[in-house]
Symmetry: C2
Subunit: 228 residues, 2 copies
């Protein structure tokens, strides 16, 4: 489903070149649950942004379902993002002064769905993340952890083929984190959604079947977890 | 130094009233290192915002150095924030398209310090958080964890009397988290800075001498840790 062939990403020039990614080879199949770990600044978010079509490699090839994305038009990349992928960004990226339910409906507005159906799906997604009763509160009226859960609801409301989650439990307490991870595991097991999740917490990474580790832009290990 | 007497914070009216804080009594002395934990939405950030003069109680009294803040003028609250307090916000609040060093210099510009001295202090604070060499990169050019470290540098550059840190290691890997916590502990031990820190990770909370726990806006426990 997802393949990197010697993908690198460079910023700056000459002396001050920063290698965010450095000749990364990677292959992820449909239905897998892959965790990604590594020190701060090691290239995890850069890798997720390229997989999600939000950034392009400097060198190397990214293939989605066997097709090189380098040749994709802007429209093809946009369709890939809207129909195949769900994002939970590291910084939430919610619209301010906009209610939780409107934030969650946003990705559905591109699909020409009628307003009543959109509202129904958005309300259901917010209930799945434990925010029933807070649908009409705006971003400023929600706590850090509640905003993170709105971001997760927005990522799953489109029933994507691939869920890209960058530190989905970074702001959540242990109990809420467990609830969210059980939801993501259910989506992976029951709907076959492919999950790629960045985390810095070992107990959260343990929910995945594989663990990729980045150091200074290089993929240093790729372990398959023995399922208990 | 800091006292709450039956402080409550309500949002909304009647039926849909949300009790962010519910009759909280609290007392923190100069030089203490206090950790704050609790589930998502339990009132931790609301408590920090009131202590920091960014929000006011609905009922009850907040006293800073024995003086009720209810009577403070806007100017007095601003002086309190600028000279006594350093903030690490849960969502960073860095200026976009602005370099790391300019973000860190910002709280110093209010002090009428000359530009060369400001720059020297800001560069030193960035080095303390492990970002030497990245001073001129903007917020967009830094990873999530690196932005969090810029926010910490900005909070400590003014050498505040009280450091309010809301999830300071939320986006950081274990190694970087340990480095940041050693820095905060040094500031507490060597400069006598009072630290109030929200975290959802038990091993991070263990750096503090006291542990406050919130549930549904109420302070449910206040334990003093036996220092090993
Ligand atoms: N302006 C507002 N209007 C309505 N409710 C609010 C407002 N601001 C905060 N709240 C609510 O007050 C409660 C406490 O919020 P607070 O941000 O203090 O939680 P927290 O303990 O910091 O949570 P987290 O761990 O998720 O950051 C939450 O339920 C939140 O939704
Ligand atoms: N536009 C840019 N210009 C320069 N450097 C950049 C840019 N974007 C990212 N970088 C650098 O690339 C490296 C990798 O960044 P990335 O965001 O992928 O890290 P990360 O592994 O997600 O870290 P964290 O755990 O802190 O979120 C970092 O050193 C970062 O500063
Ligand atoms: Mg990142
Ligand atoms: Mg909070």
């Amino acid at each position: 489903l997802i393949q990197f062939r010697q993908v690198s990403k460079f910023y700056g020039r000459g002396e001050a070149t920063i290698r965010a990614l450095d000749h990364v080879d990677l292959s992820i199949s449909r239905g897998e649950f892959v965790s990604v770990m590594g020190p701060s600044g090691s290239g995890k978010s850069t890798c997720m942004n390229i997989i999600g079509g939000l950034d392009v490699p400097s060198t190397g090839e990214y293939l989605f379902q066997g097709i090189p994305t380098r040749g994709f038009s802007r429209t093809q990349l946009t369709l890939l993002r809207r129909h195949m992928l769900g994002f939970v960004f590291q910084g939430f990226n919610l619209l301010a002064r906009t209610s939780a339910v409107e934030n969650v409906e946003l990705p559905l507005t591109y699909r020409g769905m009628d307003a009543r159906e959109r509202r129904r799906l958005a309300m259901a997604a917010l209930e799945q993340v434990g925010l029933k009763g807070r649908e009409d509160h705006t971003t400023q009226e929600l706590s850090g952890g509640q905003q993170q859960r709105v971001a997760i609801a927005r990522a799953i409301v489109t029933d994507p083929a691939v869920l890209l989650a960058d530190e989905p439990t970074g702001n959540l307490d242990t109990r809420t984190s467990t609830e969210i991870m059980q939801l993501i595991t259910r989506l992976n097991n029951e709907r076959g959604i492919t999950v790629i999740m960045v985390t810095h917490e070992e107990d959260i990474a343990a929910y995945g079947q594989r663990l990729l580790r980045f150091v200074d832009g290089r993929l240093t290990s790729d372990e398959v977890r023995q399922k208990e």
